[in-house]
Amino acid sequence: MTEFRIVQPGLLTTVQDLGRIGHQALGVPVSGALDGIALRLANRLVGNSSGDAALEIIGIGPVFTVTDGTARVALVGGGARLIVGDRPALDPGASVTLKEGIEIRVGGPLTGPAYLAAAGGFAVPEFLGSRSTYLRNTFGGFDGRALRPRDMLPLRLDAPPPGAELRLASPWDYAETSAIRVVLGPQDDYFSPDGLARFLGSTYIVTKDADRMGLRLDGPAIDHPRGFDIPSDGIVTGSIQVPGNGKPIILLADHQTVGGYPKIATVISADIARLAHALPGTALRFEAISVAEAEQARRELERRLALHPIEPWSGGFPGEPDEALLYAENLISGVTDGL
């Protein structure tokens, strides 16, 4: 069985897919990739289904080797670059086939989460229909935890299927400079008109309290004349709750299923991936739009994602035989017939 042997795990490397759907009524959070766009693009580059599980890499990238086989991988997002052996770093957003035994590094600096997808996916068991890791309760993914040195992470394929290496013809545009779009509610009536105006008219800074559960913001406090303690109700990814100190918290993938603070607004689904890149110190502004506009924005995002250009590339390194091209020309198809 082909495996990744983890030499250094990086800061926080976990298995994530598009989340654990259908168990929130029992208190089980959705989890999943913080940046679902990068995950889907990485999967597309290696021929996977868009929701297959990949490695989510946060902060510092891992070092690993491939054992007992070869693996096609693609790294997308966070400005991360794959460094194979002692060769120059590959451009991001490209698939490449890794040979056994060579040390692979995910280089930074990382400006957000990066996703390393492997052709065929990772052979970790599903838990409640998902391979996403939920760290707080230690379930899902690889033993319910982040990767550690000497872990052996199994792949589902021993060798990649034939086909050309692929790369993104252009990087994904997250429109980082524009305001984060929100829909007001569900508890916007807990806030005064002044409080709502302050929320929409101010710049908020992401604090160091930023993790997979959420982003704690600093900026002008928003008061809630009707109090800040409500009987807990449901939360979605992107819910912005305002606790007693008046400083908003944006809830992300690992958020609890319910919460007892009033929620002033919700970040629209088309802008959730942008929050994954909001490192501590990032300035955020919010712009309120209607539900119908938010739904339209999501449809546009999906259209843009479906049309995002992908092109074949040689997959080779300068001065080395172009194996991908050989595969593509079917010259060595016998090697892959056994798959």
């Binding site: 168990h23 009524a25 208190g27 569900p186 979605v236 990814t237 119908a292």
Partner: protein, 257 residues
């Protein structure tokens, strides 16, 4: 509309649902709010709508999260719109005789020994009852699970006798032991894993309410009835050891109503 059988009364019984509000959570969530209080009739109405939605899911419905007094409907904005979803739910709310959700009845062992009952003395002092009266009242109450949340499998139990209603501790604990059975406001709860928490702890149950090794990891569900059976320390230890060996799973008495 019809209501859950756990409650004989409902504010919504008059047919229409005048106080229902539809609140947006961006373009992926719609909260159907029946009221703002923690109340058995409101909660029964939430669970009735939940059951109706599961019996006939409208297009684009992903999942639902019943809470004390509102139902969150997660939806796929690529498969429906919030406007269409709202219309579908309004139709359901106005349909007479909405079926109640099926519920189960559990009898969960709890040990009220001093070692586990970290706040029994404080609760007794605050309520003017003896520790024994507090325990007896808690152990003889039939609770209804209003919702799960906070932690996977963590139940919020409604139906606490009024005399036991207290605020949360002013100083929350950093580590509440797993299995702790506690009360606050009009509710009781059971901590599923070690966690921070501010509720008043009355005892400990050996039952694992969330066990990833089980095919259905969460033991109980919203709408289930829960009663407690007081066990002594020796019985607690015996049950805990059996559960640890997975030779007793689930431990709870399970009755189909």
């Amino acid at each position: 509309m019809g209501i859950g059988k756990a409650s004989g009364q409902s504010a919504q019984q008059a047919g229409a649902a005048p106080s229902v509000r539809f609140l947006p959570l961006g373009d992926t969530g719609l909260t159907v709010e029946f009221g703002t209080a923690i109340d058995p009739a409101l909660n029964a109405a939430v669970r009735s709508l939940d059951a109706a939605l599961h019996a006939a899911p409208p297009p684009g419905l992903i999942e639902t999260v019943p809470t004390f007094r509102s139902l969150l409907v997660h939806y796929n904005p690529l498969a429906t719109s919030q406007a269409d979803l709202t219309r579908a739910i309004e139709t359901l709310l106005h349909r007479p005789g909405l079926a109640s959700a099926p519920s189960r009845r559990w009898r969960l062992p709890v040990c009220y020994d001093t070692e586990f009952a970290l706040d029994a003395d404080a609760v007794a002092a605050a309520t003017g009852l003896t520790v024994e009266e507090v325990q007896r009242l808690h152990a003889t109450t039939e609770f209804t699970i209003y919702m799960l949340g906070f932690l996977p499998g963590f139940p919020f139990l409604g139906g606490l006798p009024k005399v036991l209603e207290l605020p949360r501790r002013t100083e929350p604990r950093v580590r509440v032991p797993a299995g702790s059975v506690a009360i606050a406001m009009s509710l009781s709860c059971i901590y599923t894993v070690v966690s921070p928490g501010g509720w008043n702890i009355l005892g400990r149950s050996p039952v694992r309410l969330f066990d990833p090794q089980r095919p259905q990891p969460a033991l109980v569900a919203p709408g289930d009835q829960v009663g407690f059976a007081a066990v002594d320390r020796a019985e607690y230890d015996r049950l805990a050891a059996a559960i640890e060996r997975h030779s007793l799973d689930p431990i709870a008495e399970f009755l189909v109503p």
